[in-house]
Every structure is written in structure tokens, then in C-alpha cells.
Symmetry: C2
Subunit: 418 residues, 2 copies
């Protein structure tokens, strides 16, 4: 069988099962999620054995330590995967929720009701837990799903998929509704992206290269995020101790993720007081600072930030620092150089906070908190299939509600149009 | 100046104005909408004079009578355009509405707030009133807009645009926020579709060829509808008098539009009683019927419907008719051959109605009413920029709410992540 027909046949089977998925009662979906969670833990040895094959290949390929770390499956991580499924059980089922009801002068009653989207394609790299997280979210939201993981996690993903498929047997969830494309090349991705007749939504998760490839080649709607260039703005009205702790957390606690801070903006009035202590903490934590001219006058030993630094997602212990004249300049900088992901202000002035919240054009805008909270779990969504910096369909963490659409149900008594 | 730089500079200017648009208070937007409405009526003579140039060109090109009719601007239609703007004034401003508020265990308060999308591109054909309708909806929803009308309405669109631009002078609505691309070729459309750095959403309105071109060439998210293959299913539990009137209305009242019925499905139990009278009315109104084998046994003089008929959007006085064995067969037919636009069941059985509403995978699903009601105005939305048969972002009529996205505003007291 050719690769094309494999991807096509997978999509056809999944689409055919989507109708059944949409009608599953919540109780059935929750019972199956619990069964999968139980089986994942029970079959931990098998998962770890298969994961070893990926780790061995990664070693041979000389993958970076960070990548290898993301690949590892151990007892703790497997329990985490199961827990994520159990968390998804607890989240309210969005399907069937009546979002709005209105009655027209002619007596028509129009209900706007949440429904599953249909068939979701998720294209991702490295971490194997994405496989079970996404299966859980798609199943609970009544969608069929096609998973296409990275080649670096091929054995791990196939093993998780096998455990899930075995768990589905004898349940009312059709096994065809959850599919894994085992092919390891990008041609399979390209095939999938053309199947707009079957697939309703593509969510790519991974490096910018993958995401750009998907966005440029897909005939199917894509919800994505390219980068997380997150800012924290320390205003002249900031509690500087709070600002210090928030900035430190946003940069240092986990620098390799999309919601970590990449640029710190500081109001000129507080820069002299704030920056030396802040710099000391950051440098002690191993952070390299790159500053604007004004910053360099205060922090004399740091590198200069170039124009390109303001556009940079370091994903590392590097921070660019800029002194601004006012809140407007901070907002303009964020809207111009940022990635519309997560940006924060530290201020005790409500009016200034409101201006920032209103004018910063990002998926999540914070007052007095670390940008690190942009995350499906932290939002109380159970998990996430991704974080969107797009504005269409979904913005910010995407979980159950974001995996639904709606339809209008219209109840008449024989109304016709004049 | 090259065409490329014209489109690009238009997009840059509009994007720069989008931030200002997003912050406009409702009162300002409403006052400007009223001013435009007034000016459109006051300058009716100018609009009609410019419209004559398009009509003359249409005549020279031997355009169809239907197309020429859609192009015409007269006093009545100009008043209709103004009324549509005044209707938009009355609709609640969606911007700033708090959709949801939730508090996390760590004390973070998360608000989900409606915001404008930013810059919308609308690509459309023929009817000049689309120009003012879309300006009204984009303005009220706080978006900047780039309009690209068809060459057949070039003079009319430019005239409407000029009246709007003049009306904006001296108001707080930046004139740059509303742009018209006057170029008449598809290369300009193609340029626009690549400007994903500036344009947030593309809505194409027109024939299937235009829409497919847009969908295949756009790097920007597109919300669209290809076709309206709408069904009415006359169940064995139908009030047959009601079914007759609904089907007649859905087919005959305005056959050239997307929410008109193209296929009628009839339960075998009622076919013999229902079809002869129904056929008589339809044939009398000039409708050509095409039936399945079973239908032909009852209506002996009609043509046979081929497989391709079930996929056909006639947009004309033609109707395909099929007899089905049960509701499940009707639903399967609709989901397979339909375009997920608008489909209706006529039944007095609540359980059967619920099954139909749940299982038909369309933007609007009706019980006991004509499919002709799928329309922004009929829904009470004032007007519409289009009707979506996509599932992402918006489904069904797209008006003010569908021209918004949301962002999360997060209020903290110094929270950091562990």
C-alpha cells in the first residue's frame, strides 16, 4: 500500500467514526478515560521498554540533552500521563451546552449549541505524553483524532497508542476514532494537510520550522503558535519587590518554554533602583543580560541588545532589557516586537493596569503575575492541545471548549419567509 | 507605484489604525454609523450616477440579467443600505464584553474578554451594498477593514467608499481604518492573501471559483462557504400541509440564494399522499423536478435524478427529490451529499426532531421552518459579512460577535509559578 493511501484511509476511517463520537454520552467518555488511565499505569513496563528504543536511537543520533530529557518515559511521567486523563474526566463536558437562546419576532426559537468539531489532526514533536494528553482531550470533547508524532518518539508513541487502542476494545468508543500515523517523514504530513474533505482542524505543536511548514501547506484550518516572545513591564508604579520576584520567576523557573519572559521593560523612573538588584539575582542564576543603551549606563558590564534581540525567543537563560519613557512606549514595544502570547505589567496603579490590559494585543495579559501561568493546566482546563497566538477560533490555551464549534438549532411552527 | 506596493501600503496603513479602532467607545462608533447612513442617503444622486457607469459596462459585456439586477443602485436600495447601518447601531457592541470570569486556587482572577480581531479583508463580487454593510459591521465591532470588490461594481464601490471616507473626516474613526483596493485584477487579491503579517482574517463572498482561489492561496485564516446544498426532510410524522408550505417557500421564494432548498427528502410512508400535491404546486411555479426511482413511480412524468444531482447547488428553479426509508437514511444523505449549511425536518415527533437536530452536521438545523431563515438579518444580527459553513471560528451567519476574538486578562497579587 502506498503512503498516500495509508494517510487517506486513516483519515476516511476516522471521519466515518466522528459522527458516532459526537453522540457519545459524557458518562461513557469518562469511563473510557478512566480505563485508559488505569491501563497506562498497568502497562508502564511495556511503555518504558518501547521508550528505550527511542532513547537508544536518540543517543546514536547525538540528540541534545534537552531533547533526550523530553523523550524519557519513567514511572513518574507515566503516572503523570494517567493523572492528566483523570483530570480531563473532571472537566465539564462542553458538548451539548446551550450557549445562547433567542426568540425572533416571528416566533422562531434559535439555540446556539456547542458541538464537537469533527476530526482533528495533531502534528507534534518529541514529548510522548502529548499523545495521551491529546487523545484524552479529543475523546472528552467528542472529536475523532489523527495523531502524527515526531520520528524521535516513534516507538513510545506507538506503544501509548497500542495501550489506548486495547483499552477501547469492548467500549462504545469506536477504535477508528483515534488514529496514529506511524510514518516518519514529512511527506505523510503533507498528505494529511491536503485532506480538507475529511479533517476539520490541524494543530501543529513543535519548532517554528514545523509550524511554518504546516501553515504554508495546509488546505485545512490551522490553529498554531509560532513563538512566545513574552514581556514583563516594570512600571514606575510597581511594587519593586514584587516586580523582582515576578521577573525572576518568569525568566528563570523554566526558561525553555513558550511562556517564559524574553524581554524585560523597565520605566526610566525606577530603573536605577530596580535594575542593579534584579541583575544581581538573574546573573547569579546564570542569566545573560543584553541591554539597551540606557540599561547599559546602569548595568555597565552587560552586552548590548541589538534590534534583532527584541524579536528573539531565546528559550534559554538570556534576557533582553529595555528602559522605556512611559507605559505607552512599553505597550508599543510589546505590540511591535512581541508574539501576542503572554505579557505582564507590574503596577499598583489601576488606571495604568487597565490601559495595559486594553491595549496589549496578546492572548493573555497579566497584571502583577508571572507570564508562566499561560498553560491549560494552570487555567483549570485539565490539559491543552496547544496554545494559540492566532486570533481566529481560539486564543491562548486550547482545551475542551476550544475543541468544539457550535451549531444553531431552530425550532419553528411552520414559519416561512416573506 | 507598483500594484504590490499599493496593496502592501494599504494593509500597513489599515493595520496601524486597527489599534485605535479597538479602543473606540460604542457611542463614537454609533454616531459615525449614523453619519454615514445620513450621508449615503444625501448623496444618492452621486451614487446612482457612478452606478450607471458599472451598468453601462455590464451591458457592453453582455452580463446576465440576474447579475445586472444585483448591480443596480436605486433610491430604494440606497435607503436599504442606510437602514442596514442604522440596524447595526442598534445591535449590542460585543467589544469588551466579559464572556467568563474564573478564580484559580492560587488567587489569580482570569477574565475572558471579547476584543476586535484587528484587520479583516473582505473579498466579494457584484452587489455594491456589501461595501457599506461590511464597513458598518467592521466599524461597530472595532475592526479595521480592507475591501476588495469585483470589477463589475468598481465605480459603485468607489463611490460608496468615497462617501464613507468623507463622512469619517472630523470624527474619531481613523480614515486609514477603512480601505478599498480599487485594482480590478486577481493579482491584487493574491497579494492581499499573502499579507498574514498584517491581515488577521479573510472573508471571501462570491462564486465557488473565487472562494476556492482564496482558500488555496491564502496564508491568512479564511472563513467561507462554498455552497448551500440545503435539504428539507418530510418525515412520516410530518403535518403534510405544513410540510407543503415550508418546502414551497424554501424552493420557490428566492431560488438563487444559498439557503434555498435544493433537495427534498420524503419518508416512504407519506410519499404517495404528499408528493402529487407538492409536485403540482412546484411545477405550477415553474420548478423542474428530478426524482429517484421511487419518486418516479409516483410522479411518472419527471426526470430522473442522477448521482450528481444530489451534490448539485442549482441556485435555480430545479429540485431533486428522494424517497427514504427512515430518518437515519435522511440524516446520512444530508451529511454525505449536503454542504453543512441549512437543513430542515418537518415532524410532529419530538424524539425524531431531537435525533435530526443532534445528528445533522450543519451550521443551522431546523425543525418545522423554512431553511430560508439562515441570514444575519433574520437572526437579529443586523446584517452579515457572510455565512460560514466552516466549523472553525464561526459557523452560520457572521456578524458582530463573529468579527471578534477574545483575550484573557489576568489579575494577580504577585503570583509566581512553582
Amino acid at each position: 500500500m502506498s503512503k498516500k493511501s495509508t494517510v487517506l484511509s486513516v483519515a476516511k476511517k476516522a471521519k466515518a467514526a466522528a459522527g458516532e463520537m459526537a453522540l457519545l454520552p459524557t458518562s461513557v467518555k469518562n469511563a473510557v478515560l478512566r480505563k485508559i488511565a488505569k491501563d497506562i499505569v498497568a502497562k508502564a513496563d511495556y511503555l518504558i521498554k518501547e521508550n528505550q528504543k527511542d532513547l537508544k536511537a536518540a543517543e546514536q543520533q547525538n540528540y541534545s540533552k534537552a531533547l533526550v530529557d523530553r523523550l524519557v518515559l519513567n514511572d513518574k511521567r507515566i503516572k503523570g500521563m494517567a493523572q492528566c486523563l483523570l483530570d480531563t474526566v473532571k472537566i465539564k463536558d462542553p458538548v451539548g451546552v446551550v450557549m445562547q437562546t433567542f426568540k425572533r419576532p416571528n416566533g422562531l426559537v434559535i439555540e446556539k449549541v456547542r458541538t464537537p468539531i469533527g476530526l482533528i489532526g495533531i502534528i507534534y514533536e518529541s514529548r510522548p505524553n502529548v499523545t495521551s494528553d491529546c487523545i484524552g482531550l479529543c475523546l472528552k470533547s467528542g472529536n475523532a483524532v489523527i495523531l502524527k508524532g515526531g520520528k524521535e518518539a516513534l516507538y513510545s508513541n506507538q506503544a501509548i497508542f497500542k495501550v489506548v487502542q486495547d483499552a477501547l476494545k469492548g467500549t462504545k468508543v469506536p477504535t477508528d476514532a483515534i488514529q496514529l500515523i506511524a510514518s516518519t517523514d514529512r511527506a505523510a504530513v503533507n498528505e494529511l494537510l491536503k485532506l480538507d474533505q475529511y479533517v476539520d482542524l490541524i494543530v501543529p505543536r513543535g519548532g517554528e520550522g514545523l509550524i511554518r511548514f504546516v501553515a504554508e501547506n495546509s488546505l485545512i484550518p490551522v490553529v498554531k503558535h509560532y513563538k512566545g516572545i513574552c514581556h514583563t513591564y516594570v512600571s514606575s508604579n510597581a511594587n519593586l519587590k514584587m516586580a523582582h520576584d515576578i521577573c525572576f520567576n518568569a525568566k528563570v523557573q523554566r526558561p525553555g518554554v513558550c511562556n517564559a519572559m524574553e524581554t524585560m521593560l523597565v520605566h526610566k523612573k525606577v530603573a536605577k533602583e530596580f535594575l542593579p538588584k534584579m541583575a544581581e539575582s538573574l546573573i547569579q542564576a546564570g542569566v545573560e543580560l543584553r541591554g539597551c543603551d540606557q540599561t547599559q549606563k546602569i548595568l555597565k558590564d552587560i552586552k548590548k541588545a541589538n534590534e534583532s534581540d527584541w524579536f528573539e525567543e531565546y528559550l534559554d537563560l538570556i534576557l533582553s532589557v529595555k528602559i522605556v519613557n512611559d507605559t505607552k512606549e512599553a505597550i508599543d514595544h510589546i505590540n511591535h516586537y512581541g508574539s501576542h502570547h503572554s505579557d505582564a505589567i507590574v503596577t499598583d496603579n489601576k488606571k495604568e493596569a487597565d490601559q495595559f490590559l486594553k491595549s496589549v494585543d496578546s492572548a493573555t495579559v497579566y497584571v502583577n503575575a508571572s507570564t508562566r501561568f499561560t498553560d491549560g493546566y494552570e487555567f483549570g482546563f485539565g490539559a491543552e492541545v496547544g496554545i494559540s497566538t492566532d486570533k481566529l477560533h481560539a486564543r491562548g490555551p486550547m482545551a475542551l471548549e476550544e475543541l468544539t464549534t457550535y451549531k444553531y438549532l431552530i425550532h419553528g411552527k411552520g414559519q416561512i419567509r416573506n
